[in-house]
């Protein structure tokens, strides 16, 4: 039985808009929500600039520690946690690559969105296994329009 990651519709729209605008480069950002429990609900996203060396951005992204720190602080300000990372694979399947795994952290949810010719058409959610041997896939669902009440 795999865990579930769900995202509210408004946040998903913001995620898609960011990744389509970044095409043909990879786009990325943070998934914000509640960090407790096995199943995760993403209630907001934080888009971040891709800091990887310019020419390679069509298949690489980088979020710097400075951006991560700023993201953590913004999440805390909203009473949320950083619970994962989203990024796109332009014209490539929504599956983690070997490179993704080298850089992955446990616990975070990693969503990967395939963007085909500028249109986001497939999103899947993954978590790194404890022993770093590979990924487990989450069930990924999109909530209806109503937003859950924010915490605090």
């Amino acid at each position: 039985m795999s865990a579930t990651t769900s995202i509210v519709a408004e946040a998903y729209r913001a995620l898609i808009a960011h990744l389509e605008a970044a095409y043909p480069n990879e786009g990325a950002g943070l998934l914000l929500g509640r960090g407790d429990g096995e199943d995760r609900v993403v209630t907001a996203v934080l888009t971040l600039p891709n800091r990887w060396d310019g020419a390679e951005q069509t298949h690489r992204f980088l979020l710097t520690p400075e951006d991560m720190l700023a993201g953590e602080q913004e999440a805390a300000r909203r009473g949320l946690d950083v619970i994962g990372i989203f990024h796109s694979h332009p014209d490539h399947p929504a599956e983690p690559s070997g490179f993704d795994r080298d850089w992955a952290l446990p616990w975070y949810v990693y969503t990967i969105t395939r963007v085909t010719q500028g249109r986001a058409d497939h999103t899947r959610a993954w978590r790194l296994r404890e022993d770093r041997s590979g990924y487990s896939e989450d069930n990924f669902t999109i909530h209806a329009e109503t937003r859950p009440t924010p915490r605090g």
């Binding site: 605008a21 095409y23 043909p24 990879e26 990325a28 960090g35 990887w52 060396d53 310019g54 020419a55 390679e56 069509t58 298949h59 690489r60 992204f61 980088l62 979020l63 710097t64 520690p65 991560m68 720190l69 953590e72 946690d81 950083v82 990372i85 990024h87 694979h89 332009p90 014209d91 490539h92 399947p93 983690p96 690559s97 070997g98 490179f99 993704d100 080298d102 850089w103 992955a104 952290l105 446990p106 616990w107 975070y108 990693y110 010719q117 500028g118 022993d131 770093r132």
Partner: protein
Amino acid sequence: MTTIRIPTPLRQYTNGQAEITVTGADVGTALNDLTGQHPGLRAHLYTDAGELRAFVNVFLNDEDVRHLQGAATPVSDVDRLMIVPSIAGGSDAELVRVDHAALRVNQATIIVLAAVGFVLDTPGLIVFVAAVMTLGTLRRSPGFRLLYTAVLKPLGWVKPDVIADNAEPHVFAQGLGAAFLWGASLALFAGAPVLGWALSWLVIALAALNLFAGFCAGCFVYYWLARFRAPGFLKTPPTGTFPGLRPRG
């Protein structure tokens, strides 16, 4: 006793604690003490070869220890260490994909600005174009990319035209164009207008050749240098493509 702050995803290995107190005179021994207290952290902080993983950044009071003395950076009791992840990833696509629409907007802008510089006899415009192209080369993207990403693409006036291609030759070609324009600027300000405008027109002509005929002369030079194993020139043309010609999409 120094305090180390643990990032959220690794707190499951510290029984949920956000901050751990460690002993050690420098960053290396402090981290050693941390993984000694919480062995589950080791696999995620270090590679099998014992190196700190690429995404693990250690900050000492808001400063990255890589900019200090690395693992040998001394720490004292009042110091605070923070482990901050950087996040990277990406697809395993082999050939980089290059948006040729962004390249063409860049070429068209160079042509227009340099030609206007000639018509109005304004050497300053040539300096401006040379500077933008140089900045673009350093950032490894088209100098006038912003015009495409922030204006023309969002308006839908120019559609992306993404082709599997090498990015480096295009970066090199722009650098070559910038070098010619710096030469032109020098000539124009040194009182040699004929040489200056001739060099400018050479850049205009080569940009137009690329824009209208799809032949990138700078890329041709790049692949030619690569053939003769010039250091740093590593890429070969995409399969079935004549060096410098635009690959078929």
